[in-house]
Symmetry: C3
Subunit: 354 residues, 3 copies
Amino acid sequence: MAVVRLDEIVARLGGRLIGDASKTVRQVATLERAGPDAISFLANSKYQDKLVATRAGAVILSDDSAGACPVACIVSDEPYLYFARVAQWLNPDKPPAPGIHPSASVESRIPDSASVGAGVRIGPDATIGARSRIGPGCVIGNGVILGDDALLHANVTIYDRCRIGARAIIHSGAVIGADGFGFAREQDGAWVKIPQVGGVTIGDDVEIGANSTIDRGALDDTVIEDGVKLDNQIQVGHNVRIGAHSALAGCVGIAGSARIGKRCTVGGGAVILGHLSIADDVNISAATLVSKSIHMAGTYSGALPSQEHAAWLRNFSHLRHLDSMADRIRSLEAQLARLAGTQSANTNDGEIKP
Amino acid sequence: MAVVRLDEIVARLGGRLIGDASKTVRQVATLERAGPDAISFLANSKYQDKLVATRAGAVILSDDSAGACPVACIVSDEPYLYFARVAQWLNPDKPPAPGIHPSASVESRIPDSASVGAGVRIGPDATIGARSRIGPGCVIGNGVILGDDALLHANVTIYDRCRIGARAIIHSGAVIGADGFGFAREQDGAWVKIPQVGGVTIGDDVEIGANSTIDRGALDDTVIEDGVKLDNQIQVGHNVRIGAHSALAGCVGIAGSARIGKRCTVGGGAVILGHLSIADDVNISAATLVSKSIHMAGTYSGALPSQEHAAWLRNFSHLRHLDSMADRIRSLEAQLARLAGTQSANTNDGEIKP
Amino acid sequence: MAVVRLDEIVARLGGRLIGDASKTVRQVATLERAGPDAISFLANSKYQDKLVATRAGAVILSDDSAGACPVACIVSDEPYLYFARVAQWLNPDKPPAPGIHPSASVESRIPDSASVGAGVRIGPDATIGARSRIGPGCVIGNGVILGDDALLHANVTIYDRCRIGARAIIHSGAVIGADGFGFAREQDGAWVKIPQVGGVTIGDDVEIGANSTIDRGALDDTVIEDGVKLDNQIQVGHNVRIGAHSALAGCVGIAGSARIGKRCTVGGGAVILGHLSIADDVNISAATLVSKSIHMAGTYSGALPSQEHAAWLRNFSHLRHLDSMADRIRSLEAQLARLAGTQSANTNDGEIKP
């Protein structure tokens, strides 16, 4: 763990320092838990009461909160982003010593700067990047390309011929390049497998969460562009393309050949159907089903409000009858129009028009 | 497999025995499949026809079903719970012989009573509990604490510094302690990773299903309290807390910093958003999205009824127009009130009020 | 990769060849990407513009598209199924050399024709089929039966005593036979585990996707019949039965004891509750919750249309008030009927009936 002076932080990362410039911090912490050797942050003014009570050594915050801060602070226009950089500084990567564990089974050349953990299996013709780290139990197929400084945590599986960019972080249990779900159907209902001859191409600076799966393409590749961040248990079907710097929360499922734009965000548990396109800068809310293409940037939602069970029973039973409810409204409108016409005739001139 | 006399069962577990006390049973089975050496149970009176036809050696049931039982029976107020205890008795754990498989790569002290399977990797500074069993292919990070009598099935991954209580059962493919999904965003849309410096703390008697994932905390720990049961493919985000004895069914997703109370149940496929609280003794129905805090015990639902596709098309198209439907109802009410006022004026005293 | 003449293809697979019978192809490709040594297909006439522009060596298509094809073509009534067979021909399996990797830990007899990868663990009393291939890092429990020609990709886990049929394909991270989620509850809310003494029985020609999980039965077996295809991240609860040739897309969850018929299809992200039955030849749409048995073949849906967020807020707020909306419609109808009666009385004969 690093020990850093506040004036060193400001010298490197900018911002305005208020308080003792020589104070040192060693770790990041929440406002509640931080002690005098920790630096915290306030990114949302609704937690201002926690700021007032903090015992942190210093706090990163925005200008309008600085007055309320009882300790040293660094003022930034983007305190959360600033905090991210400080947290990275105080928690530098601790790469294992380079080298290949004797229990690994490796059939490709490994750079001296890389580390390969216990029980790892690497097939022939793979290209392993400089300083890459491959955790225990990983299996890397034939002809895989793994970029420089990639970090594979334990028990990751990468099928043959997938390509992964520089600085990738892939968490345990992720599976890259399994067969896409492609079958043709025979007359009797049986399925004939379509060989999945495409691959997976993953750009630079991509992070993939634990137990996420990215299938290889049927004919062309499945593509994850630079800077994409995938949370845990995400399923990416064959021939999907995810645009640069999009971020998807846990348990999202994306069906085959969907195209997601750049800088999109997708909330947890959302389902995106296949063969559709989502524009750049689209935000999908959690648990939303996207069943049609989205052509304009913006936020899209579709999930239901939950309710106390008895109210839900009362309300949602009507969902099965919305069409007849609409019919009844239309009928009421027609009747009322007729009646109002009659009435109006009646009240205006006493003359009856049927 | 044990062989047990019915009177031994009643002597240890209570209940009232009707029939041959010296009869022995060796296994549990369903009412349909049980033969004379098996003991079955009836917990739901709607299966009473199966009771009448059973060839089981004995049946565990409630008082009101005893009369219909054609074989020996044990009467209990809670037949399902009683059955669980008998099933445990007849199916005792068969721990493998203690010891460390020669292919394991272990850098921490392992108690003599523990067993470590083939290809296991245990990092330095880990504390492994007495009689714990670590299945083949598991990877246990540096400084992990694993409680006494813990059972890790094959291919479990536990990241550095996570703590797991006594008698834990963790199924294959589960990943404990991967990084939470935390990023700050730059102006251009790129993401800066926030180091996840918290850990995971799991209490005693917790069971975690296959391929479930529990992320480490961003600053503080993610916490799973005593007696929690998680089914397969559950995603638990960073800094979530799940209260004691809560049980979550398969495919549930819980976003970061959500707090779930004690003794809650969550149905399969439910999604719980982040930074909210759920009270103790709350039951969430399957496939429900919880998007706001729930402050009162009770059952909460939100999923849709499915329908034959054509009916669904007719009914659900109106969901996009509910607001205008509501407007039309309001307008109808207003028109009708006006008309009724008019009419009432008209019919009561013949005088017109516009 | 094979090199095949077009007349060889037609001789083996049927169909009508138009163009140079001696032309050879080496690979399958999309209409856009195919070069002169590749064969492509057109299964959907909406992509006819791509056909016109293709540089493929040959195209498989239906009769009504043949006229527009600028290159050689094979006419078939079922071009996609035909393409599947050609793709299999051009991409034959490349089984690894038989044999057991020296780092594997095997306690059962392995046929000479089988291959066992690095770091594999196979327990005692297992039966391993001829020509089966077990990828690196797989763990196969005691007494497992694995059929002939089965293919287990890397890091698959199969618990004790599960049975898997011939020609199975199981993708990485899949877990077969973990404990079902079965607990009885004590008065104080604590859970007592019910030993899961059933197994898993999987038929022939089944494919199971990456990170899918199939739990063992509580008392009887969980059963997957012949020819079933499961995509990635599917959860199958204990004692589920899935009928022959059903196909389930990614992220589907099936709760315990559900029975799914033959030749069903289930869309991605659907949730099927427990203890219900689905008839043969039922299609469930993506993201649909099935909460009741379905007795008739057909398509069933239940997911919501997503909307631009502001529209969603306006429309979906009414879902909490559908019951009162229905009451208001009923009340309007009653008022209108009363009023119309009055009015009709009024306008017909001038006499007032209150």
